[in-house]
């Protein structure tokens, strides 16, 4: 198992291998994203019962929660990729980190916007500076900062290193987002989905949410792979395998 992982790691470090294997993955990722999204939304928007307090406005949960979860996971993945780049100087890791940043930022923005829209009818306000909302806004700015660093500096190597360091420092914000609703008084309610306990949600509402969460992760993988492939092509454009690809 360990040897298999090491071999996979070395292969993933090879841009050509990555490009070829993901060519086979893309159709599956597209199919899963489309089917998952269709099933999840039909169940969530049409079949899930309305909430006893919030009525139908709770249906925003089917995009808000998956987007918020993903925005945090993506940041962690970006930091891990950054660390791999810093320690082993693996170029692929830097390209993956650079591909994750704008996608993660997009999902963070989705979570913030849908949260604001959801807050208006339920809380009575679009925005409040409580710990959860503020730390989530900080996550968006961290994404912007990492993106700027990854692209700004003259030397590509130096800009990747700067982006990786900021994403590692920014990791501190992730537990703050997660536990903000427990450590401090916030307007935002505590988590509905918990790792160790039963989720506090009716199964008819929960199933579409879980489908949407899984689908969001699959879709995220697709978007990151698409961007990383572009990075691979650009950096390897002088290599013979890319030239062969262009000839065909």
């Amino acid at each position: 198992m360990w040897q298999w992982l090491v071999r996979l790691y070395h292969r993933l470090g090879s841009p050509k291998w990555f490009y070829e294997i993901t060519s086979r993955w893309i159709p599956w990722l597209v199919g899963l994203s489309v089917v998952g999204c269709a099933v999840g939304l039909v169940l969530g928007l049409l079949y899930a019962p309305a909430d006893y307090q919030q009525g139908n406005s709770f249906r925003i949960i089917y995009i808000h929660v998956p987007a918020a979860l993903l925005a945090q996971s993506a940041f962690m993945m970006m930091a891990v990729a950054g660390a791999v780049f810093l320690i082993w100087r693996m170029k692929m890791a830097a390209w993956v980190a650079r591909s994750i940043a704008p996608v993660g930022a997009s999902f963070c923005l989705i979570a913030l916007l849908t949260g604001a829209i959801w807050g208006k009818p339920t809380w009575g306000t679009w925005w409040v500076w409580d710990a959860r909302l503020t730390s989530m806004l900080l996550l968006l700015f961290l994404y912007f900062g990492v993106m700027a660093l990854q692209r700004a500096i003259e030397s590509e190597d130096a800009s990747h290193r700067a982006g990786a360091i900021l994403s590692l420092v920014g990791l501190v914000n992730i537990p703050i987002i997660k536990y903000s609703v427990e450590w401090w008084n916030t307007l935002h309610q505590p988590a509905t989905l918990k790792l160790t306990e039963k989720p506090s949600m009716h199964p008819d509402m929960l199933v579409p949410l879980l489908i949407m969460i899984v689908t969001t992760y699959v879709f995220f993988a697709l978007l990151v792979i698409l961007r990383t492939r572009n990075e691979v092509l650009w950096h390897e454009r002088k290599r013979s395998w890319v030239r062969d690809l262009l000839e065909s």
Partner: protein, 69 residues
């Protein structure tokens, strides 16, 4: 099914504006995220193919130039 008619579905029990605004904004951001890398790829392929054609033309041009003298 939770709704009896399409109009009821759209209304979302007087929360229609909020629900559809959320889903609309999300759809826009998602579509942008899909289109951007696809456009980037297309532009890359076009530019690189042009570059290769130019290089080949230059090479053959040089050869002809060399043979004529």
């Amino acid at each position: 099914m939770e709704f009896n008619s399409f109009a009821e579905f759209l209304a979302m029990g007087r929360h229609g504006l909020y629900v559809w605004l959320s889903y609309g904004i999300t759809a826009v951001i998602v579509v942008i995220n899909v289109i951007l890398p696809m456009m980037q790829r297309r532009r890359f392929l076009k530019e690189q193919r042009q570059r290769m054609r130019r290089e080949r033309r230059n090479q053959t041009g040089e050869k002809q130039h060399a043979s004529s003298t």
